[in-house]
């Protein structure tokens, strides 16, 4: 670890901190339908959209109606994306490489993946998806799934702030305003900034470059004998990358235009674009804390939630940066040319799977941020991290994607944890739990528990099945505890709607495509429903004035208790699995063992 590395991490956090308040207040204006400076341009577009679709913008929805509208929208857009993938070979537009139709299992898994904001990619984009599929089938989902998440978070916040109300707002209006006022304008500016750094944006066929040095590649022929071919050219992927990259990061989607994701120089060309990408992952999640504060009339509460998220983020990045700075004991003394200590010209530590232009600090920070926030974009390969370094992304997702979290999903997930926290605090002092004047009663806690239990149930259920069945084990690139980590990571990432991968696992098999598709859909929609139920129930309640027995939710004590509840719930649920995966691997590595 170096002072320079810590300084870069500090710069990142200061930027997130500075952006949070203006972003949060702006989103509150947007969702409360108050005046913004974009109204003259976007107001007519919004009204036209409602007229074309027959939406009554003044109509309010109960939580059940809000949830049903969200489910209908998600089902329709999932099927639309599936159709685009399956029919891409029939659509001559934007398919210069003449890619065939996407195979049905992969098409379904990908459609589910992008609908749920997961963006797990069991394919190589530049050899599978046409430009039309990338732009119309996948990038549109990046906007829609992010806007759905934001709408749901706002619905929950309204449930807290409204008094004796049966409704939570209008899903179609929230979806439209989030897309038009928040996502689209930022992405236009953001994409241009990425282009200025060297990200590409075109619809050209792929380029072919002649290699300076010929390469001899040996493969196994059909008769089982080795075949050596001489490669003299390289195909270089093109496409509308910057526009997809912007929403990929801002919307915490994470699905790369290229297989290497944000490690690819056309997606993430410079250290500045790397910083922009990391900051944008937290922009909406951090802002929503202040939207919560503004809409509930308690800005201090918004900052208390922001502080809890920041504590968890810092613990993660400090652990990951430390772990990746450590030398790999298996390489010690193997070769005098392997330098594992930091020098003026060597970063030291574990550089396997990392971009030299980003180094240790920015790789550890990116891995932490992308898994805190259910983004899933990567600029280094998590599978190559040291065991404890790899544990951090895994544990971040297992915490429930609430550390700034997925856009919207992080906020409503954190609000569920807050319900659990005030319930526990109420038990401690023997009073009826209250949250910002709303009594938290049996039904709210039942639904919160349902939300919290579905998550590990799907992860551990599918991971256990995959660890036992040949169909699950055949995809592993490593065995032993690292293999278990690969399986565990795959389902944690799917259910947490993160989308990043321990790249060693081959998920392009029927078993993983189907089970991960189910896991992603379950992890998104089966958790949203009880969350909306809590929001709907809270909205119906009176707001009682604070009394001596009220647990204040604006203090450092609240932030620490909230962090404690999140850590304890996560540890009780997942520690046994983690101890058999990355923790055991760490201990065995110290003893000199590795697993091929």
């Amino acid at each position: 670890m170096t002072a320079n590395g810590w300084l870069q991490i500090a710069v990142f956090f200061v930027l997130v901190l500075l952006i949070a308040k203006p972003m949060g207040l702006y989103m509150a204006q947007v969702y409360e339908r108050k005046k913004t400076w974009l109204d003259p341009v976007l107001g007519p577009v919004e009204r036209l959209l409602y007229r074309l679709t027959g939406v009554d913008a003044a109509a309010e929805m109960r939580w059940t109606e809000y949830g049903l509208a969200m489910l209908v929208f998600s089902c329709a857009t999932l099927l639309l994306t599936y159709a685009v993938e399956r029919l891409q070979h029939w659509i001559p537009l934007w398919n210069p490489q003449h890619f065939a139709a996407v195979e049905p299992y992969l098409a379904w898994s990908t459609a589910g993946s992008f609908t749920t904001n997961t963006n797990w990619q069991a394919y190589v984009p530049e050899t599978t998806m046409s430009y039309l599929t990338q732009a119309f089938g996948l990038a549109t989902h990046n906007f829609w799934s992010a806007a759905v998440g934001m709408a749901l978070a706002i619905a929950f916040i309204r449930g807290i702030s409204r008094r004796e109300s049966k409704t939570l707002g209008n899903f179609w209006v929230d979806l439209t305003r989030g897309t038009l006022w928040v996502l689209v304008p930022i992405c236009v500016v953001y994409a241009l900034a990425l282009v200025s750094q060297g990200a590409i944006q075109n619809f050209k066929p792929y380029d072919t470059a002649t290699l300076v040095e010929k390469q001899n590649v040996t493969t196994t022929g059909t008769d089982g004998k080795p075949v050596t071919t001489t490669v003299t050219t390289q195909t270089i992927g093109m496409g509308p990358t910057a526009s997809q990259e912007a929403i990929k990061m801002l919307g915490t989607n994470g699905g790369g235009f290229f297989n290497a994701n944000s490690a690819h120089p056309f997606e993430n060309p410079t250290p500045l674009s790397n910083l922009l990408q990391m900051v944008s992952i937290f922009t909406i999640g951090g802002g929503l804390c202040l939207t919560l504060g503004k809409m509930t009339g308690s800005e201090k509460h918004g900052w208390a939630v922001f502080a809890a998220m920041s504590i968890l983020w810092f613990c993660g990045v400090a652990t990951c940066y430390w772990a990746e700075s450590q030398p790999n004991p298996l390489l010690h003394g193997v070769d005098q040319h392997i330098v594992q200590t930091g020098t003026a010209t060597q970063s030291g530590g574990n550089m396997e799977g990392k971009e030299v232009r980003f180094g240790l600090a920015n790789s550890a920070l990116f891995a932490t941020v992308t898994t805190d926030a259910s983004c899933g974009a990567v600029n280094s390969m998590h599978d190559s991290f040291m065991p404890l370094g790899g544990l951090v992304p895994l544990a971040n997702i297992m915490a429930g994607e609430i550390i700034f979290g997925g856009v919207g999903a992080g906020m409503y997930g954190m609000l569920i944890f807050i319900v659990a926290t005030v319930f526990i605090a109420g038990l401690m002092v023997g009073r009826t739990p209250e949250y910002l004047g709303k009594k938290v009663e049996a039904y709210d806690v039942q639904m919160a528990m349902l939300y919290l239990l579905i998550f590990p149930l799907i992860i551990l259920g599918f991971a256990a099945a995959s660890a036992l069945l040949p169909a699950g084990l055949s995809s592993l690139s490593n065995h032993g505890p690292h293999g278990l980590s690969q399986i565990l990571y795959a389902y944690t990432s799917a259910v947490g709607n993160n989308g990043s991968a321990f790249a060693g696992l081959n998920a392009d098999t029927h078993w993983y495509l189907v089970t991960q598709g189910i896991a992603m859909l379950g992890g998104r929609f089966l958790m949203i429903v009880p969350m909306l139920a809590v929001a709907g129930n809270l909205a119906t309640k009176k707001i009682a004035p604070p009394s001596l027995g009220t647990f204040p939710v604006t203090t450092p004590l609240f932030s620490v208790l909230l962090v404690g509840v999140i850590v304890i719930v996560g540890a009780l649920t997942f520690f046994p699995a983690l101890s058999l995966g990355p923790i055991l691997e760490h201990l065995l590595l110290r003893g000199g063992a590795s697993f091929a």
Partner: protein
């Protein structure tokens, strides 16, 4: 044939989610919480 299965599976999943909404609602105060 595969297309039909995947489309049907998607519709079935969302139908289950709708049933689930009703299930969660029915748990509220005798099922008439927001009736």
């Amino acid at each position: 044939m595969s297309d039909l299965i995947f489309v049907a599976a998607s519709v079935v999943f969302f139908a289950i989610a709708v049933w689930y909404v009703n299930g969660c609602q029915s748990l509220t105060k005798g099922g008439r919480h927001d009736a």
